[in-house]
């Protein structure tokens, strides 16, 4: 089965043009997602995860633009689509859930208005039918008395409820692909679990592909099939979740995993990756992680390519290897 979404060598730049190189927020990123699979796109703030998500939907704000690479969605090159073709994709076949539920709903329109317009943007149906579908979608994500809720305004909902509304909107057209940008970061842990469960069910039952953008490795380990770790705009490690999280190759991935608090290391100081993510206009030459890496050598001054190993790959010439017991 061929992949539903195939991103190859994606480069997204901000600024630039007229002879000046732009800042590469996303640099040479490739991954694939198949129907029914969940890809966890992991990285720190500013590593380019969200920009990758917006690139797929072609919703970058100026001066951001896709400067290279190719995004194939179900065999169609996104770059070759007209604006109208893109509009027909958005919401219908590719849906997105944003990070901050407090900001994603228009404060002066009712939930009903915002859901009905989402239905009618793609399907020629009457208002009543659209309302019925909106009601069903709200019920699906566990919002009580959805009929009443349709006439409410966003400020009458809590953050968790708003995110469920956003998810309900994303589900309206049963899309083939959902891009979820840290959808649970702003939520309580209990609601987090419910939403993760919803997405899992969705991937299994409706065969929906999900790109789950997050910095939370715990969520990825529960939810995702594959993982792609980003650092400073580049992929540093990809592979099946089980393998990458238990046996990371890239020192950055290893550092992230070691930073997760654990019961098993009670009393010990929490591991930290020293230093901070460098700003993308002042990346060190060669491997971007070089200056924070304990394993770095002179050889790291040249940017390594992604090194494949079975069904995974990593971008490091001094990979971490688990000692074979």
């Amino acid at each position: 089965m061929s992949a539903l979404l195939q991103v190859s060598n994606l480069v997204t730049e901000f600024g630039g043009g007229g002879g000046h190189p732009g800042l590469k927020a996303v640099n040479d990123v490739s991954f694939t997602v198949s129907r029914g699979k969940v890809l966890g796109l992991v990285g720190e703030s500013g590593s380019g995860k969200t920009v990758t998500g917006f690139s797929i939907l072609r919703l970058l704000e100026r001066p951001g633009r896709i400067a290279g690479g190719r995004i194939l969605f179900d065999g169609t090159d996104i770059a070759s689509c007209s604006e109208e073709e893109m509009r027909q994709l958005r919401g219908k076949r590719i849906a997105m859930v944003f990070q901050d539920p407090m900001m994603t709903l228009n404060p002066v329109l009712t939930i009903g208005t915002q859901m009905v317009e989402a239905v009618q943007a793609h399907d020629k149906v009457s208002k009543e039918v659209a309302r019925q579908r909106s009601r069903d979608a709200l019920g699906l994500v566990g919002i009580p008395s959805p009929e009443e809720r349709l006439s409410s305004y966003p400020h009458q909902f809590s953050g968790g409820m708003r995110q469920r509304v956003a998810i309900a909107i994303a589900l309206l057209h049963q899309p083939d692909l959902i891009i979820a940008d840290e959808p649970t970061t702003a939520l309580d842990v209990t609601i987090q679990s419910q939403i993760i469960y919803e997405f899992q069910r969705l991937a299994e039952e409706s065969n929906t592909a999900v790109v789950w953008i997050t910095h939370d490795l715990a969520i990825v380990s529960r939810l995702a099939d594959d993982i792609a770790v980003m650092y400073a705009g580049r992929l540093v490690e990809t592979g099946p979740v089980g393998k990458v999280l238990t046996d990371p190759r890239h020192p950055y991935t290893a550092g992230l995993i070691a930073s997760v608090p654990s019961q098993n290391r009670r009393g010990e100081p929490l591991h930290q990756i020293r230093g901070m993510t460098p700003p993308i206009n002042r990346l060190p030459e060669g491997c971007s992680f070089r200056t924070r890496c304990d394993r770095a050598t002179e050889a790291c001054r040249i940017m390594p390519g992604l090194i494949p190993e079975e069904d995974r790959s990593f971008r490091c010439i001094h990979p971490v290897m688990k000692e074979v017991a």
Binding site: R87, R90, M103, T104, L105, N106, P107, A166
Partner: protein, 324 residues
């Protein structure tokens, strides 16, 4: 809703009462009308008679109480100059000013809103930059100068439009209106445009600023991510958020259009309230000044109330019932 309206009405009454004190004392401070009203050749007995007739020999608090007493009967006193009830004088002139102000506001909205929307949506275009530069002119050129230039160009040089007056009027609902006759409309055009210029620039710049504030919001991006058509995003998502500041400004500026149409009315000899108040100030015609200022206070109170009601329609987060 009803209780909040009643509460607002009581508040308004207190505002009006406070204003009567300020206005009454203020007007008493600026000069003695006796010097202007009475013939300098008049003898003492005649002076005393006139002063007593207008109640000017009483202490100020007594004058104020008498004024309040009159006010309760809807009587602001007689004009010193015209010898007729001050309120009647003002109400007589009001339709002319209202007509001018509403036309000016209409022009400002019809021109300012779409141009501001355009300049906000396409800020990089040369046409947008031209619009914005023009709005700076509209903002900073003094009204009286623009008025004179308009007369110079359209009346004197081109001879297209008349220079002054209301032209022939037609009766509707018991008052005379210019806009109902073709000739009256021609008279209305120049002063209305002159009065509208500043407000047009204001609404234009406000709209543009609003568009630029709303467009980068997540909910606009989310609407795009839903696949909503661009026309609906602009016409519903952007516009409805935009109308909140615009309505505020329209409401407040409508008051100032009426209250400060003085300059335009003077230049175009438009027989409205503005011209009346300037004449009354020159002649220290106290009852007319006081009555006019009171009318303006009531006008602003009413406008603010209307704005508040518009808010509740536009912005669901605002409710009049909410405990302030």
């Amino acid at each position: 809703m009803v209780t909040s309206i009643i509460r607002r009405l009581i508040q308004a009454l207190f505002v009006i009462l406070a204003m009567t004190i300020i206005v009454f004392i203020g007007v008493n401070v600026i000069g003695n009308p006796v010097d202007i009203l009475i013939n300098p050749d008049a003898n003492q007995a005649e002076r005393a008679r006139v002063i007593a007739h207008y109640g000017l020999d009483q202490p100020i608090w007594k004058q104020y109480l008498m004024f309040l007493q009159g006010l309760l009967h809807g009587d602001f006193g007689d004009s010193f100059v015209y010898g007729r009830p001050a309120l009647g004088l003002i109400l007589e002139r009001m339709p002319a000013t209202l007509e001018l102000a509403i036309t000016a506001l209409g022009i400002a909205l019809v021109v300012g809103l779409p141009l501001g929307l355009y300049a906000g949506l396409y800020p990089k275009r040369v046409s947008s930059k031209l619009i914005m530069s023009a709005s700076i002119l509209g903002f900073s050129l003094p009204t009286f100068w623009v008025g004179l230039m308009l007369i110079m160009v359209f009346s004197v040089e081109l001879g297209w439009l008349p220079t002054n007056g209301r032209g022939p009027t037609m009766e509707l609902l018991g008052t005379q209106w210019s806009f109902l006759t073709g000739e009256g409309l021609r008279h209305l055009l120049l002063p209305a445009f002159n009065l509208a210029l500043f407000k047009t620039s204001l609404i234009l710049r406000l709209t543009r600023a609003g568009v630029q504030e709303v467009l980068p919001q997540d909910y606009i991006k989310f609407a795009r991510a839903k696949g909503v058509r661009e026309g609906r995003i602009i016409g519903v998502h952007v516009l409805k958020n935009l109308m909140i500041p615009v309505v505020t400004i329209i409401g407040l500026e409508f008051g100032s259009l009426i209250a400060f149409s003085v300059v335009t009315e003077s230049i175009f000899a438009w027989p409205g309230m503005g011209k009346l108040i300037i004449d009354s100030i020159n002649l220290l015609d106290r009852p007319v000044i006081v009555a006019y200022l009171m009318m303006m206070v009531v006008l602003f109170v009413v406008l603010n109330f209307i704005i508040d009601i518009c808010y509740t329609i536009l912005d669901p987060r605002v409710r009049l019932d909410a405990k302030a």
